[in-house]
Each structure stands twice: as structure tokens, then as C-alpha cells.
């Protein structure tokens, strides 16, 4: 086995896992606290990428663009909460799903109107565009290491926020007892709007980080959203820890599966069959994993205690 390749693919898996975590954490926060199912969460991921692309060309610097695009995406999330999502809290999950399904069409088309149908590539500053030799003979793009670092830092920040801050306490209280928080005189509407905005920022950040690799493109959010759903189903909907563990698990299994399942199959069946079945199975791997976990734990790995 090629250990250099294994190492690189593990890093890639980690990177995918952390990007998934950024998307899934927002999804799980919004569901856990607001009890709101947001299909359009992937559109915020896409909008983050596009806003960042425009700002990169405007400011000439990707990092400045990210710093500016984050509050912009957050503000967008705030507005969405204020003008649409808020009126859906009293509705059932089916209505959430349908309304945000419509919202996806609206946001995708607006993006098309503003940025045009083609994807937009985002240029990186030179010092991020290179490669680093992390082990002898194993080179990794610098930017991928940055993604991993940002992902880990955000995860740490979120754990701190949820577990050790007043906002986090309110967030956890809001999750378990909405009326109680309201009775304590805390403006729950603002709290909810802030949580939604935070979720939007997290999804947007993931989009900004991925765009220099893949381009910002319409519909980019519609693929990752399903994988993010798988992540939070596996992890337990509403659980931050579950989102983190689930995201890394899914990221690693998906990446490693795609690169090594052919070889694995070749151990058991003839290579022709392996090459046909390999891609089909590797694409299905995370869903099979999801099914297996659900068969044992219908509430996911870390089911939230309340609810």
C-alpha cells in the first residue's frame, strides 16, 4: 500500500470533514435551537462563496475578502430569519421543508441574475498558492492546510461558545426550554435571529474556503447539503459534538472510500468487476454507513438529551 497516498488522502478526508462540520454545525444549531429544518442552508454556503469571490476581485486579496464576506453572509442570514424563517416557527417541519425548498430556487436564481451562469474562480495570494512538504516526499497544498487549521479553530471556537459563554448558555437553554428563556426576559427573537445568522456565517465560511479549489458555482450548495444532513443524522440532530464526530467520520470514509475501495475490492474479486462496482459502492458508502448506524441507534450517535 502507498503510505504517502494514504497520508494525503487522510488529510483530504480531514479537510472534507471539517468543511462538512462548518455546514453541519450551522444546520444542527438551527435545528437544535430553533427547531427549524433549513433546506436552504446550502444556498448560504453558495452565497458565501460568491460574495467572497466578488470581494476578492474588489479588494484584490482573498483573506480581506473572507473577513468582509463573513459579516455579509451573517447579515444575509439575519435578514432571511427576520423576513421569512421567523413566520415559519409555528409551522410543522413539512412546511419548513417546502418553504425553504422554494427559497433555494429563489436564492439560486438570484445568484444567477447577479453573478451570471458560469462559475467564478477565486485566485489565492501567492503564499497560499504553493505546496508544503509535510513529510519527506509528501507535498500538500498550503491552502488545504489552512482549511484544516481554520476548520479546527472554528470547531474549538464553537465548543467554547456553546459550553462556556452566556450566549452559549442561552443557546442551550433555548434548545431545551423556549418559554423559560422567554420568561427570564431574554429577547428570544433576537437570540434566534443571531443563531440563524451564526449558522449562515458558518455555512458561508465553508463556501469561501472551498471556492478557491472548486470555483463558486450555482447549485454547489445542493450537493453538500445532503451530505451535511447525513452528518447530522449520524451524529444526532441538534448535537454539536455529534456534528463534529459525524463530519470527520463521513469526510474520511467518503474520501478514503473513493480512493481505496477499488484496491480493496480487487483483493476479493477480479479487477474488472472491482473497477465497475468500486465507484458505485464508494459513492454509496456514506449512506450505507448511515443506514448501519441508524439500524443500531435510530437517534444517531449523540442524541440530544432533551426533546
Amino acid at each position: 500500500m502507498d503510505y504517502g497516498l494514504l497520508f494525503i488522502q487522510t488529510l483530504n478526508g480531514l479537510q472534507l470533514g471539517l468543511l462538512l462540520f462548518l455546514v453541519a454545525s450551522g444546520l444542527t444549531l438551527v435545528f437544535g435551537i430553533l427547531d427549524f429544518v433549513n433546506l436552504a442552508h446550502g444556498s448560504l454556503y453558495m452565497l458565501g462563496a460568491f460574495i467572497c469571490a466578488s470581494l476578492t476581485y474588489l479588494t484584490g486579496n482573498f483573506l480581506i475578502a473572507v473577513v468582509l464576506a463573513l459579516p455579509a453572509t451573517g447579515a444575509l442570514g439575519y435578514l432571511l430569519e427576520r423576513f421569512l424563517v421567523r413566520s415559519l416557527y409555528t409551522r410543522d417541519h413539512l412546511d419548513h421543508v417546502l418553504a425553504t425548498f422554494g427559497l433555494i430556487l429563489v436564492l439560486d436564481t438570484l445568484t444567477h441574475l447577479i453573478w451570471g451562469p458560469a462559475g467564478i474562480a477565486i485566485p489565492l495570494p501567492d503564499w497560499l498558492d504553493g505546496q508544503v512538504e509535510v513529510l519527506s516526499g509528501v507535498v500538500v497544498p498550503t491552502f488545504r492546510l489552512l482549511i484544516i487549521a481554520v476548520g479546527l479553530a472554528t470547531a474549538a471556537g464553537l465548543f467554547w461558545l456553546v459550553n462556556y459563554t452566556r450566549l452559549g448558555m442561552l443557546i442551550r437553554a433555548g434548545a431545551s426550554n423556549r418559554t423559560m428563556v422567554a420568561a427570564l426576559g431574554i429577547d428570544i427573537q433576537t437570540l434566534f435571529a443571531l443563531v440563524f445568522a451564526l449558522g449562515a456565517m458558518l455555512a458561508g465560511l465553508a463556501g469561501m474556503l472551498v471556492a478557491p479549489i472548486t470555483e463558486a458555482s450555482i447549485g454547489m450548495g445542493n450537493n453538500i447539503i445532503i451530505t451535511a444532513f447525513v452528518v447530522i443524522i449520524v451524529g444526532g440532530i441538534g448535537s454539536m459534538k455529534g456534528a463534529f464526530v459525524g463530519a470527520l467520520l463521513i469526510g474520511l470514509i467518503d474520501t478514503l472510500g473513493r480512493s481505496f475501495i477499488d484496491d480493496l475490492f480487487k483483493l476479493f474479486v477480479e479487477s474488472n468487476t472491482a473497477e465497475t462496482a468500486g465507484p458505485a459502492v464508494s459513492g454509496m458508502l456514506i449512506y450505507i454507513l448511515m443506514a448501519a448506524i441508524l439500524a443500531v441507534r435510530p437517534q444517531g450517535l449523540f442524541p440530544p438529551k432533551v426533546r
Binding site: 417546502l98 425548498f101 422554494g102 430556487l105 454509496m284 449512506y287 439500524a295
Partner: protein, 321 residues
């Protein structure tokens, strides 16, 4: 619902229009509307099947487009092998075989994924059905032999006794008759003892369990029936479009199917049909005006969720969910 109330007359009237209008257009030389009506009718079958679980069972399946895909590939793959060799065992253009496989495979997929999904509830169920459909989507996407994401052209339509599917009018009539049969089937099921249990479990599952019903099994059976019916619609769809691609199974397609049911009115006989009709006609109308039609369309969807309770049937006969 029993006997001939207002909704029954509305149902009959709209079904009559759906039958006659496309024919009139067709005989006046306008084939486009017949084609539109055929597509609409086929999707209506899928919506009717979804309504069985969504409307009467309260099970929000977000993965029904997968069955349309299974049904279509059940036509496409045997036909492909007739033309390009390989897999002698299944290479055939025999429609009875293809439709049989479409129904069988769909039922099997529904049975397996349903057995897992139905252990969960609420938002888990929505997301899991969605994820399983996406799994099927990726599976077909990665099978290069059948075109991957480029899709697969169906060289000849299914060979069936009595009807010639190459004749657009006969294809339409077959689809229409299938739709009527599907509507009657669902109607019969929901009024049966089985249907009463299914609806009871939607309204109050705890009560049904306390009465001694294993509601899991009843739901699984309903889910399987629904998947099988939807697979049949998929086989028709394959014949209608003569082309299949994984895109037919994408989750946005499942979302559209759900919307048709809600738009028309859940848990009504005509609702899903009405919803499909309005959905397809509006989509066709808007998309002919602008490439940006998804914008008004999306706004319309949001508006319907916010302001139209009980769907179009609710507006028409004052009866909703």
C-alpha cells in the same frame, strides 16, 4: 368522501377535462399539449403514490424521485443490453418484464430503506428518505456503462400487448388509465381496515399501539406499496421521455413531487393530480417566458406554504388538512 359529495363532482369534472382537453388539442394538430398532459399524468401517478404515505400516513418521504428513476432504468437497462449486448438474462424490450421489474425493484428498495427509515420519526425520517434517494442517485451516477451523469437514451419503447407506446395518443391513454387505477387503488386502500389503521397512526400513533396495532408494519407496507406505484410511474416516464439520467432522481425532483401533493391538497383523492397539473402548467408557462423562471416559481412556492392552507382542494371544496 363517501358517496357523491362536492369533492367527488369536482374530481370527476377535472379528470374529464384532463382526458378530453389534450385529445382535442391533438386532433387539432397541436401535439405539444398532449405531450405536456402525458408528462403531467405520469407525474400525477407518482404524486398519488406519494400522497398515500405523505397525506394518509403522515410520513414525509423526501425521496420518491428515486422510484421514478428505478422505474425508468428498469426500462432503459434491459433495452440497452438488447442493442449493445451483455447481460443476456435481462436484455429484452418486453414491456411486461420491464414494468414488472420497475415495480418489483421499487418495492424492494422501499421495503429495505423503509424498514430502516421507519424506525425513526419526524425530521430524521425526512432527511433519511432524502439521503437514501441520494444514494440511489449516486449509484446510477457512477455506473459508466449506463451513461453515468450523461444519462441513457432508450432506443425503443417497451413492447406491450394491445398498446403501441410509440403512438403518443396511446401512451397518453395508458398513462391516464394508470392514473385512474392508481387513484382508485389509493382510495380503496385508505377506506379499508388497513387504511384506517394507517390514518389512525398518523393522527395518534401511541393510541394505535395501545390498541394492539404494530403500526411500524402497517407503515412499512404502505411505504412499499407507494414505492411500487411510483416505480410504475417511472417506467411510464422512461417510455415517455425515451431518455433517462440520474437527474430524474435528484432530491430537488423529490421536493417537486412533495410540492405537487401539498399544492393540490394532501389526503384527498384529486389533490395530488390537481397539484401536478398546476405545477407542470405553471412551470411550462413561466419557463417559456424567462430563463429566470425559478425566481417567481420559488416565490410562489413560499407564498403557497405561507398562505394557502389545505392546498387547492381546500380552496375548491373547503376541505383541507
Amino acid at each position: 368522501m363517501i358517496g357523491f359529495g362536492k369533492s367527488s363532482w369536482v374530481t370527476l369534472a377535472i379528470m374529464a377535462i384532463l382526458l378530453v382537453l389534450p385529445m382535442v388539442f391533438y386532433w387539432n394538430g397541436n401535439t405539444f399539449y398532449l405531450s405536456l398532459a402525458t408528462r403531467l399524468t405520469i407525474l400525477a401517478i407518482a404524486a398519488v403514490s406519494l400522497n398515500l404515505v405523505l397525506g394518509y400516513g403522515g410520513l414525509i418521504s423526501f425521496g420518491h424521485a428515486a422510484y421514478i428513476g428505478f422505474g425508468a432504468y428498469a426500462v432503459g437497462i434491459p433495452t440497452y443490453h438488447v442493442f449493445y449486448g451483455g447481460a443476456e438474462g435481462i436484455a429484452t424490450t418486453n414491456g411486461l418484464f420491464q414494468f414488472g421489474v420497475a415495480v418489483g425493484i421499487s418495492a424492494l428498495f422501499a421495503l429495505i430503506t423503509g424498514a430502516i427509515s421507519l424506525r425513526t420519526k419526524g425530521v430524521y425520517f425526512i432527511m433519511i428518505t432524502m439521503a437514501f434517494a441520494q444514494m440511489a442517485y449516486y449509484m446510477f451516477l457512477s455506473i459508466e456503462e449506463y451513461g453515468g451523469d450523461d444519462g441513457l437514451v432508450i432506443e425503443v419503447r417497451s413492447k406491450l400487448p394491445l398498446v403501441d407506446l410509440d403512438n403518443p395518443m396511446e401512451l397518453f391513454v395508458l398513462s391516464y388509465v394508470s392514473l385512474v387505477v392508481a387513484m382508485l387503488m389509493v382510495r380503496t386502500i385508505i377506506h379499508s381496515r388497513f387504511g384506517m389503521v394507517l390514518q389512525g397512526a398518523k393522527g395518534n400513533n401511541e393510541r394505535m399501539v395501545t390498541l394492539g396495532y404494530n403500526s411500524y408494519l402497517y407503515r412499512l407496507v404502505a411505504f412499499t406499496i407507494s414505492g411500487a406505484m411510483c416505480g410504475f410511474a417511472g417506467a411510464l416516464m422512461g417510455n415517455f421521455s425515451s431518455f433517462i439520467s440520474p437527474e430524474m432522481m435528484a432530491w430537488s425532483r423529490s421536493g417537486e413531487l412533495m410540492f405537487m401533493v401539498i399544492l393540490g391538497g394532501t389526503a384527498t383523492t384529486l389533490g395530488p393530480v390537481l397539484g401536478s397539473a398546476v405545477f407542470i402548467v405553471v412551470e411550462e408557462f413561466m419557463s417559456s417566458y424567462t430563463v429566470y423562471w425559478h425566481l417567481p416559481f420559488g416565490l410562489m412556492l413560499i407564498g403557497i406554504v405561507l398562505f394557502v392552507r389545505g392546498g387547492l382542494m381546500g380552496l375548491l371544496v373547503g376541505k383541507g388538512r
